[in-house]
């Protein structure tokens, strides 16, 4: 069950440190000009062997994890390439939140910009959740509440923090560009002032390309 402020459901353990975005969404799935079809590529090399056969022992391929909503991940999840396709792919696969002790910086921003909830818990807590997930014969159910700011499993409840801005983005689905465009006049005034002091950065891309093309 998932309400707008609550994510709940099956949590799959994926305890791999530094799981980079190349592995979350390999290059062969980055050739589109839209966001479609990325669920197919998610964690491809972990889900399928070299001949393209399904790896039945991989957690997300096990039938009882078919409706996984949450990943319990290793530290530095989503490090590496900036590709936002990693976030889109996770969401298209049905993942609504990832819990880890740390995230790659660009991945974290990408996740927040798409309302994929990236929950940071101390490594001890993540380890306990992983233990709990491994101990049970049935998949662990986890609930994450963005109003009370808590992660709840059958065995424990832990608070987490989220920047105010990110919390609002998640709960209210802010149009970030619209919000920044409200500062349009400020931006224009800033640019004029900036360029009066550093005229050499104004139109820098256009002027440079024009100069080298005519050389």
């Amino acid at each position: 069950m998932t309400e707008s402020h609550r994510i709940g459901g099956i949590a799959a353990p994926l305890n791999i440190a530094n799981l980079d975005t190349d592995q979350i969404m390999p290059k062969q799935f980055l050739r589109g000009i839209d966001k479609k079809g990325l669920d197919k590529g998610l964690l491809w090399d972990l889900r399928f062997d070299r001949e393209g056969h399904i790896r039945h022992d991989f957690v997300l391929n096990r039938p009882e994890f078919a409706n996984t909503r949450v990943l319990i991940a290793g530290p530095n999840f989503g490090c590496g390439s900036s590709r936002e396709h990693a976030v889109w792919g996770l969401q298209q696969f049905g993942i609504q939140a990832v819990i880890a002790s740390s995230f790659g910086e660009i991945f974290y921003s990408n996740a927040m910009n798409n309302a994929l909830l990236a929950v940071i818990l101390p490594q001890d807590d993540v380890s306990r959740l992983l233990d709990e997930a491994h101990r049970n014969s049935t998949p662990l159910n986890i609930e994450i509440d963005v109003i009370s700011m808590e992660v709840r499993s059958p065995g424990m409840t832990r608070p987490f923090t989220l920047a105010k801005r990110h919390r609002r983005m998640f709960l209210e689905g802010l149009d970030m560009i619209g919000a920044s465009l409200a500062h349009k006049a400020n931006i224009a005034a800033f640019a004029q002032h900036h360029w009066s002091r550093q005229p050499w950065v104004r139109d820098i891309a256009r002027l440079t390309k024009h100069r080298i093309d005519n050389h």
Partner: protein
């Protein structure tokens, strides 16, 4: 006034408004785009019927999907990739954004072409939908990577909602020994502080060893800071940086240069400015470094031995060794390679190619090894040809290719087969990065060249100079 770090000065000089305690609306002087992280941003912009706010502060290049075969007219065979290129062209034309298109003679990797044509100047904020945008710190510009949602945000507003980072300083004093490069230095630093050792920080590099580095060597250093998780890397601009930039900015007249000089002189951390974290290294400790695992922090000196899977990293080490087919206590030296790749935004500039040529001269690529050199841009390629470097490489049996990202991420048709072991001058040894099941050993361009001519991982210092 309160002493400030260079990083804080750059943020302050680009802050349009403070949004809250942690976030500012940051003005971006230059936004670089490529064919694979921008399409959905343009699509979003069009859906909302928004315009590009300041087209002249944006530039695009086709670099990741482009074939690098040395043919005159390059044609992208894969239909999906071809569509990415034509889509980028259409978007750039529609919004009047300058583009280095597939067959532009100056086409190249984004992080190579922007500085080589003087588009990166000290004090700028530069962003790109690519994590290696940290490169520009070498010129005292704040560069960092963003995702596609943010690309759309920049297109529409020329600003970003920017979450402030913390300050880290890495001081490197002493002298790098002969045969040791800034690539070895950054691999050593990453191996010591870890793949997330600088996560959350903008790193300022300083110290006599950094002062001694050329600008191109500094690009390599700042480029790979992101492999320690850094949100940015900076080096205060010195005379070398000024000379590098002034040689490339025909548009700046004498008065602007005078003005710029006095402004750029302020771009340094004030005496007494506070850094949350400081690290110190001695350049004399650096040896040629090589990665043995599947994360850039899994690196050791070429004279060292593969570590055993013990301690808190046990499972990561086991997993990595399993992938790279190595075992604890094995030496890296002598390990046979089937492929050598010299290229990427980390190490495909002219100085890198000069180092490769110095090793290749009078030698031959070892039997059974395929060695490719992919220059970072059209300008680098032309320069290497006019200096005779290209001929040295061709005579030695290297493939001399057209510019692009190529086998750095293998998104074009330069892909390694499973089980192939590659000595690579690139930045990421992730599982499958250069092809599924392929094994990457990161190292300096000179070390990669040494592997090419010997057929195995070799300490380049043992080869000596050119063999003539």
């Amino acid at each position: 006034m309160y002493p400030q770090t260079l990083y804080r000065k750059l943020v302050a000089s680009h802050t349009v408004v403070e949004l809250d305690e942690q976030n500012v609306l940051l003005f971006c002087d230059l936004h670089l785009m490529n064919e694979y992280t921008s399409p959905q941003a343009f699509a979003g912009l069009h859906e909302q019927e928004r315009e590009v706010a300041m087209p002249g502060q944006n530039v695009a290049t086709v670099s990741h999907i482009i074939p690098t075969h040395p043919i005159a007219q390059r044609i992208i065979q894969d239909p999906a990739s071809a569509l990415q290129a034509s889509n980028l062209k259409r978007n750039c034309e529609r919004h009047d954004i300058p583009l280095f298109d597939t067959n532009d003679v100056l086409q190249g990797i984004e992080h190579i072409i922007a500085p080589e044509h003087g588009m990166i100047r000290p004090g700028m904020v530069v962003i790109c939908g690519d994590s290696h945008t940290t490169t520009y710190g070498a010129l005292g510009a704040l560069g960092f990577g963003i995702g596609t949602s943010e690309v759309e945000h920049v297109l529409a507003t020329q600003t970003l909602v920017y979450r402030l980072a913390e300050d880290m300083r890495i001081r490197v004093d002493g002298r790098l020994p002969p045969g040791v490069t800034s690539k070895d230095l950054i691999l050593m630093i990453i191996s010591r502080i870890g793949a997330q050792g600088a996560r959350g920080y903008v790193v300022e590099f300083c110290g006599s060893a950094i002062d001694d580095l050329s600008i191109e060597a500094r690009f390599t250093l700042c480029n790979m800071a992101v492999e320690a998780g850094a949100r940015g890397a900076l080096i205060a601009p010195d005379q070398k940086a000024v000379d590098y930039v002034f040689a490339r900015v025909a548009d700046m007249d004498t008065e602007q240069r005078r003005q710029a000089l006095s402004y750029w002189a302020t771009l340094r951390s004030d005496e007494g400015a506070e850094f949350e974290v400081e690290h110190r290294f001695d350049a004399a400790d650096v040896a040629p470094y090589v990665t043995w695992g599947t994360s850039p922090d899994q690196a050791i000196p070429v004279t060292g031995k593969v570590p055993a899977a013990t301690g808190p990293q046990r499972s990561s080490i086991e997993k990595a060794l399993n992938y790279t087919g190595l075992a604890a206590d094995m030496p890296l030296e002598g390990l046979a390679v089937q492929h050598v790749f010299i290229g990427s935004c980390t190490n495909a500039r002219i100085e890198d190619l000069r180092e490769v040529a110095a090793v290749a001269k009078g030698r031959r690529v070892a039997p059974g090894v395929r060695a490719m050199v992919v220059p970072g841009s059209g300008a680098v390629r032309t320069q290497a040809e006019s200096e005779g470097i290209a001929q040295v490489l061709i005579d030695a049996g290297f493939e001399w290719r057209k510019p692009g990202c190529s086998m750095c991420l293998a998104m074009n048709d330069d892909v390694l087969a499973s089980g192939q072991r590659c000595a690579s001058s690139t930045n990421r040894n992730f599982e499958g990065r250069q092809g599924r099941g392929a094994i990457t050993h990161l190292m300096s361009p000179a070390m990669a060249a040494a592997a090419a001519v010997t057929g195995h991982i070799t300490d380049v210092r043992k080869l000596g100079g050119p063999n003539d």
